[in-house]
């Protein structure tokens, strides 16, 4: 397989940064003794807490599969427990049943088409659930394009689906895929009526300060201009749509349709648990907030008005896409465990949705 020269580019950027910049101290420590929190605009609908139930589902799934998959990790080691998460219920509720009546469209993140095999989230997990009767498809968005551009692609994909009356259409967005979905809902209100729910995983809801930095004139969109893998050129506006300045502004001025139910799953990890290729960007975000996943700050990952499912202890790629399995020199056992956990995480999300969407909000 042809090896992509990411390391070289990252090294160049690191060296450049060290030459240009000064130091910025980290003001707050890495501390999970904090409550769930979200940075939002005035007038945003509040986020509500669904962590307890999601943890129950994920942990039971983990326990049920622990032996089969040879997993040693504790549930609380994979799902962060912040200090405001409600304690476990005295009596556990039984696991929800699968509901293949959910139609799932997965929208990948930025640069997804640049890396054919690793850009698509939850492919192995989706294959397993297809065997249970689910119809799960990927939306082939443009990795280098704006959310406006990708909204059109999503609209076409939604329009092309033949839905049975009993089926409920769920859009699962990963990273910038979540942003693309929100733009689709606003830009195509008639098509949005077909959507029952949106689930964001490590979603770039408020954008990322990294995008603002990398789109500064001094870098001159260096990232986009690099010849990565097999990226289609698209409209080249990917960083604009990930800019925290622009995305936060967009959210404040574009109310999301209220017939759709929104769910958010966030991610962050300790520096030492972040895969090598994301450590540089983790360090860039760390002075602002050490609770980040290497690409996004934890308080930027929640859709306004959504149910918060939880915080996964994983970096931005490990939570959804198998980048480290292709490129990382991390311990093979660790990589295998991450791959299995990703499958269980996906199934837990789908089970959670199956239960939630069959109950009135």
């Amino acid at each position: 397989m042809k090896r992509i020269s990411i390391p070289h580019h990252f090294f160049c950027l690191a060296a450049l940064s060290l030459l240009i910049g000064g130091c910025q101290p980290r003001l707050v420590p890495f501390n999970v003794n904090v409550p769930a929190q979200t940075l939002s605009f005035l007038g945003a609908p509040p986020v509500f807490d669904a962590r307890l139930r999601f943890r129950e589902i994920f942990c039971e799934l983990l326990d049920d599969n622990r032996q089969r998959l040879d997993l040693k990790i504790g549930c609380d080691d994979y799902l962060w427990r912040l200090n405001d998460e409600p304690p476990p219920a005295a009596r556990s509720i039984s696991m929800p049943d699968h509901d293949p009546g959910l139609r799932i469209l997965i929208v990948p993140g930025a640069f997804s088409d640049c890396f054919e095999d690793v850009g698509k989230p939850y492919q192995e997990a989706a294959a397993r659930l297809r065997q249970l009767g689910y119809q799960i498809n990927n939306v082939d968005t443009s990795g280098l394009s704006t959310s406006t551009h990708n909204a059109e692609i999503i609209a076409k994909a939604v329009a092309g689906l033949a839905l049975a009356p009993s089926e409920q259409l769920v859009l699962l967005g990963y990273s910038k895929g979540s942003t693309d979905i929100l733009h689709f809902l606003v830009n195509y209100p008639e098509m949005a009526l077909r959507i029952t729910a949106v689930l964001s995983v490590a979603g770039a809801i408020n954008g990322s300060p990294l995008a603002d930095r990398f789109s500064e004139t001094s870098y001159d969109n260096w990232f986009v201009k690099l010849s990565f893998g097999k990226c289609r050129p698209g409209d080249g506006g990917v960083l604009d749509s990930l800019s925290r300045t622009r995305q936060f502004q967009w959210l404040a001025t574009h109310p999301l349709p209220d017939h759709v139910r929104y769910f958010s799953l966030a991610a962050f990890a300790r520096y030492e648990d972040v895969q090598l290729h994301q450590r540089f960007t983790y360090k860039l975000l760390e002075p602002i907030e050490p609770l980040n996943d290497g690409q996004l700050i934890f308080l930027d990952q929640l859709i306004p008005g959504s149910a918060l499912l939880g915080y996964v202890n994983a970096d931005h790629w490990t939570v959804a896409v198998p980048v480290e399995e292709k490129f990382s020199d991390r311990d093979p056992a660790q990589k295998a465990e991450n791959r299995k956990l990703r499958q269980l995480l996906f199934e837990a999300m789908i089970l959670f949705l199956a239960e939630s969407l069959n109950v009135a909000p």
Partner: protein
């Protein structure tokens, strides 16, 4: 890549993310999940503030002056139309102003709004300082506030309004939660540059503060439980807010402050620069995202640093006044009047609805 990470790991030093100072941005608020949303009172507050400012001889009502003191972020609603007449002066309000961190220690230099109280008293309000320990925790200061309110002898038709500056706003919130039997005496809380979510600077400087504090002995202020800095930790503040719903019998109002680098007091510039990694919209000690009480009403963003918004430092000795960078004295008197007019109007509307 490994080399890049190694270099970064060894030196721990990367060019920081920089943000442009702009007001072309919507009002951002950091919420603990589960806390109630904030409502927008900026349009009406601007009408009141600007009308009062135009009446002041020191600040003649030429166009643009008001905008100098009250930032307009890009999501501020437009005025509803012609400003309604301002309410007549009220004798129904008792106002207590609670100062912030260390203010007790420097009370002889300045206390919040001390140069503005006379004018408010002239308008029929009864306004006093409620000085709490400058070095104690918010829980400790909540006791002081409770004792003061118990001894207040409020008239049957008098309404109590608590104004908190900086940590004073936090002390007030702790009082409301710790003394639910006294909270019904309070009609409204006004936070001015309140440290509602704490400050990242408190986390950063806690160790330095604590070691200095141990050696700082003065007759002016007792160390109390010495918990002031702990009370300002963002993790402590947000955890407290998430775990302690505020009583809904009280109305909450917030005035936030930020300014640009050149207007920041000399002594606050380091804090401003440190906070600029989050964003340049800070007042030298607090970010604007952290200054709003959940479930309350945001009145506006004043163009002042953390001290100028309430403390009359200009008339002090040159050593103190020399640190004030603002080109124009901030109209604290107008601010205090305007918040009281807004709050009185809101409370009276509340009463009519009930």
């Amino acid at each position: 890549m490994a080399l890049a990470v190694t270099v970064v790991s060894i030196f721990g030093c990367i060019a920081p993310i920089k943000h442009k100072f702009t007001t072309d941005f919507p009002a951002p608020i950091l919420y603990a999940v589960g806390t109630p949303p904030v409502s927008d009172g900026r349009a009406r507050f601007r009408e009141i503030f600007c009308q009062l400012l135009a009446e002041k001889p020191d600040y003649p009502g030429q166009a643009g002056v008001c905008e100098n003191f009250l930032w307009r972020l890009n999501d501020e609603p437009l005025p509803s139309g012609l400003p309604e007449p301002l309410p007549a002066k009220s004798t129904r309000y008792r106002v207590l102003v609670v100062p912030g961190l260390l203010n007790e220690c420097f009370a002889d230099i300045a206390l919040p709004f001390e140069d503005s109280m006379e004018s408010l008293n002239d308008r029929g309000y009864k306004i006093d300082e409620l000085v709490v320990s400058g070095r104690a925790s918010s829980d400790s200061n909540s006791v002081t506030i409770a004792e003061a309110i118990e001894n207040l002898n409020l008239g049957a038709d008098e309404k109590l309004v608590l104004v908190g500056h900086s940590k004073g706003a936090v002390d007030i919130l702790h009082f409301l939660v710790n003394y639910p039997e006294l909270a019904p005496h309070v009609a409204a809380v006004i936070s001015v540059a309140g440290a509602i979510n704490g400050s990242p600077l408190a986390a950063f400087s806690a160790d330095i503060y604590n070691s200095l504090s141990r050696n700082f002995q003065t007759d002016r202020c007792d160390s109390g439980d010495d918990g002031a800095m702990d009370s300002l930790q963002p993790a402590v503040r947000l955890s407290w807010l998430a775990a302690n719903p505020l009583p809904d019998t009280v109305r909450y109002f917030s005035v936030a402050a930020f300014t640009n680098h050149e207007n920041i007091n000399l002594l606050l510039k380091t804090g401003y620069d440190l906070l600029s990694i989050y964003g340049p919209r800070n007042d030298g000690l607090l970010l604007i995202t952290d200054q709003v009480i959940p479930g309350g009403t945001l009145l506006g963003y004043v163009n002042a640093d953390h001290w100028s918004v309430v403390l009359p430092l200009e008339g002090q000795s040159s050593l103190i006044s020399g640190t004030v960078q603002a080109p124009q004295k901030f109209p604290r008197e107008v601010l205090l009047q305007a918040v009281m007019v807004y709050v009185a109007e809101a409370l009276e509307q509340n009463q009519e609805q009930n």
